[in-house]
């Protein structure tokens, strides 16, 4: 079971994003969302790869699925897609409900 903790965490975040989106009736253009996420994904993944290489942090691979690309567990790579999507939904919710520019 513990191998799935990271995946469960990502699914919880993704579910929360879609829940906020549905409840708040927030419209997201998915192709634009992807366009916004890709540069962030690339930059932060490169940072993560470098930081792992430099030993700033490491991963408890025995507690994950065990699939590794470069030096990143597959869950960590998915993290940089899921978390930015969550932020976009929250940001759009704030735009809708918290004041106007």
């Amino acid at each position: 079971m513990e191998n799935f903790y990271y995946i469960i965490y990502l699914l919880v975040v993704l579910f929360s994003a879609f829940l906020i989106k549905a409840v708040g009736r927030i419209e997201i253009n998915y192709s634009k969302a992807l366009g916004a996420i890709v540069p962030v994904f690339v930059i932060f993944l490169l940072w993560d790869i470098a930081a792992t290489e430099l030993g700033h942090w490491e991963f408890g691979l025995d507690k994950m699925l065990g699939l590794v690309v470069v030096n990143q567990p597959i869950e960590e790579i998915a993290f940089f897609l899921v978390i930015p999507f969550f932020h976009i939904v929250v940001w759009e919710a704030l735009k809708k409900f918290v004041g106007r520019i």
Binding site: A36, W47, L54, F59, G60, W91, K95
Partner: protein, 95 residues
């Protein structure tokens, strides 16, 4: 100290871009930053306590909140603000 320096620079660049260059709504930025920090304090600490993330504390300032390094909060905040900046650029381009 590399982790500290990189994370502080990343966070500063993101805040500079969002507030000064793009002039995004500061109240919303404060709110999303608070949300980001709140979830990091819960989930990142939980993930670290489970042993999914293992930090080398000899390479950080040594300030922990409560078990993750302060630098990790900067990393997360930079990710949040960078996403917002990127999203605003993409959505404003052909709006």
């Amino acid at each position: 100290m590399e982790y500290t320096i990189i994370s502080v620079i990343a966070m500063t660049v993101c805040l500079y871009y969002s507030l000064i260059v793009m002039k995004l709504h500061s109240k919303r930025l404060v709110l999303i930053s608070r949300i980001s920090i709140f979830f990091q304090l819960i989930f990142d600490n939980y993930m670290t306590s489970l042993g999914l993330w293992i930090f080398d504390f000899s390479k950080t300032l040594g300030i922990t909140v409560p078990i993750i390094p302060l630098e990790n909060l900067f990393f997360g905040l930079a990710l949040t603000i960078a996403t917002v900046v990127s999203w605003e650029i993409v959505t404003k381009k052909k709006a």
